[in-house]
């Protein structure tokens, strides 16, 4: 893929934390997943700590995920080489010594905010303080749940999708979209590592989804504040409050507030792992609501999945074509530029 092209470059920075799995996906068993074009195998040791190794045996490259966990070590399913959490080989069959160069790559891992984060670049630069702060997922004043979607598109197409919610009007009209979204003006701001799109829709009819959350069908002030956190996370602060109760001025107490937490991890150039959760800070103890919201958002996102897969196919079917960009793409364009700069920095 020619990385120099403008809108069609598939690049990603490697010196970054990427969500590799949801916390519930990883247990005391071998779990394979490809991240950033590299096959990985993950597991938790008996103490519950996540380990991520390269999923290719040093010996003859058999995926280690086809092997067995024995006492916190991975035994290759072919000739029995064993590796510890650091990827060092601890056993070789039919010889008394171990080849000193035998190892598989071990990746820096942090478990935070319900995700297992893995550092794909130079391990010496892995800095835990750089894990995206997706606190909503496990904050005592918030509740919610989500899932991971296998996205059949380059991860940037998902970022584009989330950075511009105008599409709600056309893709999700029966749930969260209505004309107000496509009509309301918005602001785009950015820093070196973030971009924000803010849209307030004042004194509008709430779409069906929000009527249900608010529990009444009244005129509302609605907000969507989309926060991109480089390189691949987007937290969308969303909600409605009865019109005129002060939400635009900062008093959201009469309204309902959610956060759509998204982090997208490249799998290959044309596929990605799309981790999301819908968190809310109201009705915290209502477990049924958590369940309904998760199911509802799953339905909504499946509409995006269709669009994104078709878009990826269209990119491949139209080689050499670049995107045009509209005013509505401002947020997405900043996202791409910030990522490009990070990639550029790594090359120099």
């Amino acid at each position: 893929m020619d990385q120099s092209k403008f809108t069609m470059n598939y690049s990603f920075p490697k010196n970054a934390w990427y969500a590799a799995a949801r916390d519930v996906e990883i247990g005391y068993s071998l779990f394979p997943r490809k991240i950033c074009n590299e096959p990985l195998v993950m597991y938790r040791n008996k103490a519950g700590k996540a380990v991520v190794l390269q999923d290719a045996c040093w010996h003859r490259l058999l995926p280690l995920s086809k092997g067995t966990l024995i006492n916190d070590e991975v035994r290759c399913g072919y000739h029995g080489l064993r590796y510890n959490k650091d990827g060092r080989c601890t056993f070789m069959p039919s010889q008394e010594t171990i080849n000193p160069s035998a190892c598989v790559k071990s990746y820096p891992v942090v478990e935070r905010h319900r995700y297992i984060w893995v550092w794909m670049g130079n391990p010496a630069e892995a800095d835990e303080s750089k894990v995206p702060d997706l606190f909503w997922n496990d904050h005592p004043e918030w509740t919610g749940d989500g899932d991971v979607i296998y996205g059949k598109c380059n991860y940037k197409l998902v970022l584009d999708n989330l950075m511009d919610l105008t599409h709600e009007t056309f893709v999700h009209s029966e749930s969260i979209g209505n004309d107000a979204v496509a009509e309301a003006p918005f602001d785009v701001t950015h820093t070196d590592e973030s971009a924000t799109v803010t849209r307030w829709m004042k004194n509008i009819d709430a779409p069906p989804f929000w009527v249900a959350q608010l529990g009444k069908d009244v005129k509302v002030d609605r907000w969507q504040i989309i926060n991109f956190i480089a390189p691949a996370s987007i937290a969308i602060d969303v909600g409605v409050a009865p019109e005129g109760t002060g939400a635009p001025e900062g008093d959201r107490s009469q309204g309902v507030n959610g956060c759509v937490v998204n982090t997208i991890t490249p799998e290959t150039d044309t596929t990605c792992h799309y981790f999301w959760a819908f968190c809310r800070n109201y009705n915290l103890k209502n477990v049924a609501r958590t369940h309904q919201l998760r199911a509802g958002v799953t339905r909504i996102f499946s509409q995006d999945e269709d669009i994104l897969e078709a878009q990826q196919k269209a990119i491949e079917a139209n080689p050499g074509r670049e995107f045009y960009n509209l005013n509505i793409d401002g947020g997405a364009m900043w996202t791409r530029r910030i990522i490009d700069k990070l990639v550029e920095k790594e090359r120099s």
Binding site: T90, T97, P100, N122
Partner: protein, 323 residues
Amino acid sequence: MRFSNEWSEGRIKSIKQVGETVRQFEIDIPAEVSFSAGSHINVEVYFKGHPEIRSYSLVGKPRRTSVLKIAVKLLPESKGGSAYMWTLEEGQKIRVSQPKNHFELTYGSSEYVLLAGGIGITPMVSMAEELLAKGENFRFVYAAQKRSDMPFSEDLNTLLGDRLQLFVQDEHGLVDIPALVNSMKKGSQLYVCGPMGMLEAAKLAWFQSALPAEDLRYETFGTTGLYPTVAFKVNLPRFNKTVEVSANQTLLDALEEEGIEVMYDCKRGECGLCQVDIIEYSGTIDHRDAFFSSEERACDKKLCACVSRVFEGELTLDTSYRG
């Protein structure tokens, strides 16, 4: 991790004497590459007109660069690589591979101890730079025969200050390796690169301590043993032949030259594929591999033909050929 060689044509940018018997080469390469701590490159050298491959560690801070720095010690009994390198002049072309690494740092240790002996310093410089940049807890012990042949010691001294301990054998005697190992706790890693005697001492001390085997890390290019490198004679009754192994040739090379096939892979004494059976010997077998355990060596029943030799004696061997 093992990768196929990707060759490119480099050019010698500078040559500098950095020790009595050590020269540093800076090689310009056509495109930038990144290398990690402990990496080496393969270099094409010519020996009696035939191309051969030698590995040299990259010196300096791990980074993206189009200038690769290596240091080569002239070994009188060398396999030919260092002698060839020393004939090179600035501006000359040289074929080099991309950086590779068989000696990676494993991160997350509570303490790192780097032990370098002589020319074994080369991979350790990048490790020290990396550990320093990362703010890791580490110590560096660098030993050599004489002060005048201790490349990079001044730079390291400036860089590392108190973390560096220099041992000049002619002035202070040998490093007390058992004491060094005893000063380490579980969770520490020891990285060793140096002559066979040093590595053997470290392995023995490590084995006698309760430290986990995988935390002792070493790299050997299989070039030194416990005894001097001298010519020796090999008898091969199965082939009805006697072969002379010269001082600048390996046993494996000598056998191959005679058309006697031996399997091999690493050619650095690690994989064990080149092992041959010892029927009889005189003198001392100088095991220079990392494949056999000390018990196995003590029986002197087999040796790794790619690196091991005989000192002041003669060998009678058999290969796996049964035709």
